[in-house]
Amino acid sequence: MRYLPQRLVIEKEVADSPLVKRILATLPDTPVDWVDQLKEDEDGENGSFLEIVKFRGRFIKPCPGTRFYNCCGYQILNLGIQCSLGCTYCILQAYFTSRNVRLFANLDEAIQQLTEHLNNSRREIHRIGTGEFTDSLLLDPLIHLSENLVPFFAAQPNAILELKTKTAQVDLLEKMDHRGHTIVAWSLNPPQVIAAEESGAAPLEARLEAAQRCQEWGYRVAFHFDPLLAYPGWQQGYQEVVDRLFSAVEPGGIAWISLGTLRFMPSLKTVIQQRYPNTSILDEEFIPGLDGKLRYFRDLRVEMYAYLNELLLGIHKDLCVYLCMESDDVWREAFGFTPAERGGLSAMLDRRALS
């Protein structure tokens, strides 16, 4: 499922950046448009262009959690936006009009901002991810971003990089000296869900095989059952995923596993209906959550979380399983405790990050 743009649209200002040079060398036959400055969200409905621009804002930001639900205290390193994998539920469809993937070429500035950020709070532990507004490894075969990031994080005493992906593009990670400061994470779903709703992403087996390879190379891995989707027979579907997961990877090398049922801003509903009229992800009933997002009814969420948690802990009781954006009462009902009882969700994950 390798990403290959039909055309490159590059801002002249970043023509000399190492990232642009690398892309031009990797894709010598792809036509290029050189432009002065692209708009923030250029029209690009068909998504076949790769836009390379200078980013003019803050590269590092806290994850936009809300006060109503427990947030994991994650931070986002934003090096690009959009994704070509085309998951039906993808939230990016509501964030950006354009479907073109956009990369920020001024990586040196990103690294500088990141260095300052880490130096300003040396006593804190920083869990930082690049997979919020795109897939972390989607473009790695083209741009080798991991060659910049993994060694950088290896040298940081107080930071962990989480590369979240639905691809199996991990080859470049093999030879890197990561020193345990990079966690490679996959989002997981049953094969029939992947086929119907994540059709551009790697199949389950390929994801798990990639995770296995990463473990062999000494990386810790993580998994996100997010979005968990309710469909007739979901229990069996997720049970199979869990079985396959643990026949592929070593549970002791799993940093964390998150669970989060499908949720989205109401405006995404129309987009999904228009782009994917045959999807069944909107069939379940939704209620507006405290943060305004549509979510499954709480009893179903609790049921799904409790089921998955039991499956996972039944295989390895020391796994760190957490809920993404859920309230204390859902935690208590599904897991029997609240994050506050264990020092808070952020602290729980920080401990795992350093262990």
Binding site: S280, L282, I287, P288, D329
Partner: protein
């Protein structure tokens, strides 16, 4: 100055099928017939000679229709020069109409649809939507542009104001049969506009989930039983049907509400006290509402509720099945 001249026309010269500049929709106003009958035609219709020799109506289609009905031939009209472009003629028709009256939603949709053939989207939205008293938005413009494809009874109802254009927007992506099924359903029962919107969404979603068409759902036995229970007032029937469809779309929430209602009843809360769950049972905050006459009554109710709150069944109300 617009180039035009007075000319006495025969009705056979008029190309009644050329609707390219017609944006009027709706029945002939009775007063127009009366006025022409009584004092004759005050304002002359405007037409344009076409290359085939026939005349295209630009402004005054209703006046022409009335005059034809009354046999007022030959009729003195204004005829535009052929040099005037189709878009300029259409613009004239639109401005002439809006200067005289407020357009109904179907007419607004005709303006946007017809003008869209000549202008780009940005110009259409910026110039014509404010002119039609509409918020200049691409999305809204897109919705209006879909209205003219709706069936005549639906358009008539929208033009008359008995069906809101928002319902026309909601019906436009559906199949013709389903649109008419909804239309008849809404003619039968007094739902507010927002409830009509809610019902279109719910029925379409139930259909998608259960592999049924909206028509099959609206014509199902359960719905029909309530719809035809004519002994009950229409408002009550409408409420019951809405409840039934909501329950079908959201069975988990409905079951939870029913369980809550039963348990709250069994709890035996003192009169004047109401337990209110969080909206959609989401979040931890439940409320109690007290109605009381004086401090003494409040104190008694508080004591009674405090006793109940210590019981396991009070706790159970807040828990999942």
């Amino acid at each position: 100055m617009v180039e035009k001249e007075s000319y006495s026309i025969q009705f056979e010269e008029v190309d009644w099928n050329d609707t390219s500049c017609l944006i009027t929709y709706g029945p002939l106003p009775d007063k127009l017939i009366l006025s022409i009958q009584t004092v004759g035609l005050i304002q002359k219709p405007l037409l344009q000679r076409k290359s085939d020799g026939l005349l295209r109506i630009i402004c005054g289609s209703r006046r022409l229709a009335v005059c034809q009905q009354l046999g007022l031939e030959p009729l003195s009209c204004e005829v535009l020069s052929t040099a005037i472009s189709p878009v300029a003629s259409l613009r004239m028709a639109i401005y002439d109409n809006i200067a005289q009256r407020a357009l109904n939603p179907v007419e607004k949709s005709l303006v946007l649809t017809k003008m869209a053939q000549h202008l780009d989207q940005a110009q259409l939205v910026q110039e014509f939507m404010p002119l039609l008293d509409l918020e200049p938005s691409d999305t809204l413009c897109g919705r209006y542009k879909k209205l003219p494809a709706l069936e005549e009874p639906i358009l008539d109802a929208i033009a008359r104001g008995t069906l809101h254009e928002r319902i026309g927007f909601a019906l436009s992506p559906l199949e013709q049969g389903d649109r008419l099924a909804f239309f008849n359903f809404f003619q039968d029962l007094p739902f507010s506009v927002s409830v009509q919107e809610e019902l279109v969404e719910a029925v379409v979603e139930i259909g998608r989930r259960d592999n049924l068409t909206p028509t099959q759902i609206l014509d199902s036995e359960e719905v029909n039983d309530l719809r035809r229970a004519h002994k009950r007032p229409a408002r009550q029937r409408a409420q019951q049907i809405r409840k039934q469809l909501q329950a079908r779309r959201a069975p988990r929430l409905t079951a939870r509400k029913e369980r809550f209602a039963g348990e709250a009843r069994d709890l035996g809360l003192p009169s004047g006290v109401r337990l209110i769950p969080p909206p959609y049972f989401e979040g931890p905050k439940w409320s109690l509402e007290f109605t009381f006459a004086g401090a003494e009554e409040l104190a008694v109710r508080l004591r009674n509720v405090a006793r109940l709150a210590e019981q396991a069944r009070f706790q159970r109300i807040m828990e999942r099945e």
